[in-house]
Symmetry: C2
């Protein structure tokens, strides 16, 4: 199995390659790149925590002067309402200090996003303009020390007092304090606080309230205690903190009341009856946060790969036999293995992310149905988990590929690793997210993303009459092709460089695993087993289902992107990068394919040797491929990359 030769390096139009990567909102990328060339954004790796926080606040103020924040907000509040452009801007901004990124994500994405999506017109009118300019710095106070993944069980309360028409916000004990809250330790003045709403006997679940936490002078508001979370592994330019509320009173209209309201007399009303469904609908409107983190993670892996590939291209070590010329380390297969499959997958994720952002944009621009919304949330969760783990591993590989130099702060990889490390567990813990994705797939997008608990999921699956339909596969028309092109046992001649074959393998794996998990649940339910045990015993199987789903989805995106490329030279290179991504994924999963008779032992070995060949074939294009990320040189300050 050998890949066709590629056009010579100088035959490939680098500008076109960059265009393909830049995608639909290329103009915004260019604008943000220009903004970031300003010396105020120059990376500085030796700052103390207080200095770092101060500089990030200044940088945030500079960003507030641009059109960036306006993209996220509705036109009648002075915004531009271009969510696709907004996320693209955020992604590009991720090449600068990631503390700044997270700080701006807290202010505009989480805090502003909650006011926009959970609030109603009078909240918008009163707050959004000041949020955009950062005249009103704010927090998004959802997580508590005791409850992170299971947000529905948070224990902060908001009790309605009919006498005064106020809500009383209260932290019952220290495990219910709000924790890890960005902007809380120093700057935030108003917080969106998630709390259990109580009005008389009615307890309709978690709702969000606007609670002042600091005066304009910066002092904590009476009844609010604030602690600093202190030093973190990274992101030390963000002032994370803890909030504790001691019977803090806010007016009735502090409730962000789009999905549930309390009338003056204390009666509760909501357009959504089910507590569960209401909660997950509220959460769902915040999906842009997850999508933003996914994009930021991909950008961070691009920053790291840019540094490591440039260094590996030039750094020489050891001479070949009978020669005095030392070899660039990227010429070694083991070094290529560390960087090039990761580079190929970074391309793959870029195209999947572009599709996700476009879907979000369409969903917000037009009225979308429930099912489309659920699909978007599922895609977002699955891609966020995949992108952030990929980034964590890729930056680690880049650091090691740069040896001792990679360990020095000045070479930026240490900071990239430390800053992005938390991406795998914030905005939804990756493991929990993948489990939710699997549940959603099993139940055919039946309920709100995250809504079904274990019992409901197992029961739903058990009671399904028909087979599970893998919609994505059906929609793309792959199902009918699967059996034609799928390699079978004994068929050692199958060409795994054929894209149809790759797509079929990925799609078949997804279908087979999801069906397997469903059968397992059904069996456990019918045998009347303890449902927690049924579920827990299958947890790794569930996570595998989610991974198989997103793997297939990502390859679909990459394939579409390659097909849509019109420049033949660029298309040829992208074809090969896509092959490397696909084959490296098959290699990682080759045990599964052999276990399920979709790869023979011989084919499996061929997969490994083909990945090696693709690495060697793409090696001369490595620099071209990272240059196409077009990170402003002003931000690539690492001495080893210059």
């Amino acid at each position: 199995m050998s890949a066709d030769p590629l056009p010579a390096l100088d035959q490939i139009d680098a500008a076109v390659l960059q265009q393909v990567l830049d995608g639909r909102w290329a103009d915004i990328r260019s604008q943000v790149r220009e903004t970031l060339r300003d010396p105020i954004f120059r990376p500085d790796m030796g700052l103390s925590m207080p200095d770092h926080r101060a500089i990030v606040s200044k940088q945030l103020a500079a960003l507030a002067q641009t059109d960036g924040p306006k993209l996220l907000f509705p036109k009648d509040s002075g915004g531009l309402d271009e969510v696709g452009a907004a996320i693209t801007s955020f992604e590009t901004q991720a090449h600068a200090d990631l503390s700044l990124l997270v700080k701006s994500g807290v202010q505009w994405g989480l805090f502003g996003g909650a006011v926009r999506h959970l609030g109603t017109k009078h909240h918008h009118d009163r707050y959004l303009a000041d949020i955009m300019t950062v005249a009103l710095p704010g927090c998004f106070a959802m997580t508590e020390t005791g409850h992170g993944s299971d947000v529905q069980s948070i224990r902060t309360t908001a009790t309605y007092d009919r006498e005064t028409q106020e809500f009383v916000i209260n932290t019952p004990d220290s495990s219910a304090r709000k924790d890890y809250i960005g902007n809380a330790a120093c700057d935030g003045r108003l917080a969106v606080v998630f709390a259990q709403l109580i009005s008389g006997d009615n307890e309709p679940g978690v709702h969000a309230f606007l609670v002042p936490i600091r005066t304009e002078g910066g002092e904590p508001v009476p009844g609010v205690s604030i602690e600093d979370d202190g030093l973190k592994a990274g992101l030390n330019g963000v002032d994370n903190g803890r909030l504790h509320f001691d019977q803090v009173r806010v007016p009735r209209d502090a409730l962000l009341n789009r999905f549930g309201d309390v009338a003056a007399d204390g009666s509760y009303s909501s357009p959504i009856d089910s507590v569960n469904k209401r909660f997950f609908t509220m959460l769902g409107t915040l999906v842009q946060g997850r999508i933003s983190i996914s994009g930021a993670a991909i950008s961070a892996s691009k920053s790291a790969l840019t540094i490591a590939v440039r260094y590996g291209d030039r750094r020489r070590q050891f001479s070949p036999p009978e020669s005095d010329t030392e070899i660039p380390v990227l010429d070694y297969l083991a070094h290529q293995r560390k960087l090039l499959p990761a580079l190929a997958t970074t391309y793959a994720l870029t195209f999947a992310q572009a599709e996700l952002v476009a879907e979000l944009h369409e969903a917000q621009s037009a009225a979308t149905g429930d099912e489309a919304r659920r699909k978007l949330e599922t895609f977002a969760a699955a891609l966020k988990a995949t992108s952030t783990w990929h980034t964590s591993q890729t930056i680690q590989a880049c650091r090691e590929a740069c040896g001792g130099a990679g360990y020095l702060a000045e070479n930026q990889l240490a900071g990239l690793k430390a800053d992005t490390d938390v991406f795998t567990t914030f905005e939804g813990d990756n493991t929990v997210l993948l489990q939710l994705v699997a549940k959603t797939l099993l139940t055919g997008y039946h309920a709100e993303f995250g809504e079904l608990d274990t019992l409901a999921t197992v029961r739903f699956v058990a009671e399904q009459v028909a087979d599970i339909v893998i919609e994505r596969i059906g929609a793309r028309g792959i199902v009918r092709r699967v059996l034609d092109v799928l390699p079978g046992t004994g068929d050692d001649e199958t060409n795994l460089l054929n894209r149809e074959t790759q797509l079929a393998l990925f799609a078949w794996r997804e279908k087979h695993i999801i069906e397997g998990v469903a059968r397992r649940m059904k069996k456990g339910f019918e045998a009347d087993c303890d449902l927690f045990e049924v579920f827990n015993d299958a947890q790794d199987h569930l996570l595998l289902a989610a991974r198989a789903h997103i793997d297939a989805r990502i390859l679909d995106s990459f394939t579409d992107a390659v097909d849509a490329t019109t420049d033949p030279g660029v298309q040829a290179v992208l074809e090969r990068v896509c092959d490397l991504h696909a084959l490296a994924t098959i290699e990682r999963e080759r045990a599964w394919f052999m276990e399920h008779n979709r790869l023979t032992a011989t084919q499996s070995k061929v997969v490994t040797s083909t990945v090696n060949e693709l690495c060697q074939q793409l090696r001369p294009y490595a620099r071209l491929l990272v240059d196409a990320f077009a990170i402003p040189e002003e931000l690539v300050v690492a001495p080893i990359a210059n």
Copy 2:
């Protein structure tokens, strides 16, 4: 395939389990634990770099007051000459600040070790006492900016001046400056500088010289320029720096002349003729550094697992269906999967490390032959690579398993990750080390560790008449058993919980891969291919050979340790932990075993389900297993672990 039930938790003697782990130098471990309870060693995660450096220097002075440093040095210099105890002490000390560990490793292990092992009596008499007390702080200046892995090609020169009987130490250009040198930025006064020796026309290769770099007042010596490497990802209590020598003159006896000397007239003499062999013999005497890092890495993974297991045991999230009691997160299979196989492998590595330390101890206590020494160096390199990668991955998993809490500096995991991150690339880059291990295995310990270049290796392999003998397997008598117990295709009933079967699988894999690489090299050589290409195309295969070798070796050690345990309860638990380690390794490598018809598809799936069962079976013992690491509570300050 189901494991036997285990004795109840309260039937297991925790003290005996700790004894088994503490091993031969248990007394030293107890002493060091007592030392570390002193408040001076209390972890402090919020220090600035200058404060951190200052505190580490104070802590180092406190350690100098103990017998620890004496263990490393010969009796006639006032030492205790107990290298096994010294490494054990170092391992235990790794539960305190890892900056302190590395700083003490630089002072006593690298600097002191070089003076001891490369110097002769007058160097010992003059320096060792002051090195032990840190009256003379020093550096080990080997790595240059331009040459790290390929140390033989460093470009600093030491030119003998017959007139004055001096060596002139010179840095030709900035890529030849010494870099990443611990103790260089602030404290070091004398450095062991590795340089190309030039005496007239004679250029006998790299030798080590004692070069003063600072006066007693702390000023750089004239001709020496010192730069600070600045902030690093971690280990910021260590003052790494760069040294640049401008024609610095040192007397003739500054040459550490055990393996090569220059007479007053400039004539060179050495007990070893070959430049190559001499260089690698010199390096070999420094093997204790690698062994120490391996031990420190294992200790760091114990620190991380202690924190994450304690937290996972108590942290609750989500209730099972129809219940209000939330479930401890360690009850979830996915959480067990993150922590328990890593815990089992940490046990495995502990026993392998104990064997390695004992071998080093014997080698230094008695005159050992060349071959035994080479085997020791090979074992040390392979275990160092394995331990440090394991630690990096384990701490990462622990951090993620603790979510946002794991990201806060106060919970110690961030520091553990950042500090140990460089372990994978210093004291020998792991990839380079594994490649050297594979070369050594291929050439049957024929040459000094690291001595053979590509050409020599391929030629040696090609010219071998007989088959390669896998000595380790032969010595343990496993070879003859392999075919009896090895599972074959179609034999789905094989019990993979049988230790003999596991050992046979590991041993067969090692043998098969090494023979495969050898055949490949031979073929390339005979076909007159470009040898660099032959070698480079096989690089991943070579690395796999080294990994297969050390995997087998580690399982051997664990098996021996279990067999040597006399307490039945403790032995039963260790048996199961060993099963989990073995099965998790087979699971990781199951694609290879299927590719080589040693596992059927059915067996491969059984491996995965058995790992799950073992995780669930060992879950109640998780706390017992980490408690047996006996880390002083004074050092486990993470709030989430208390």
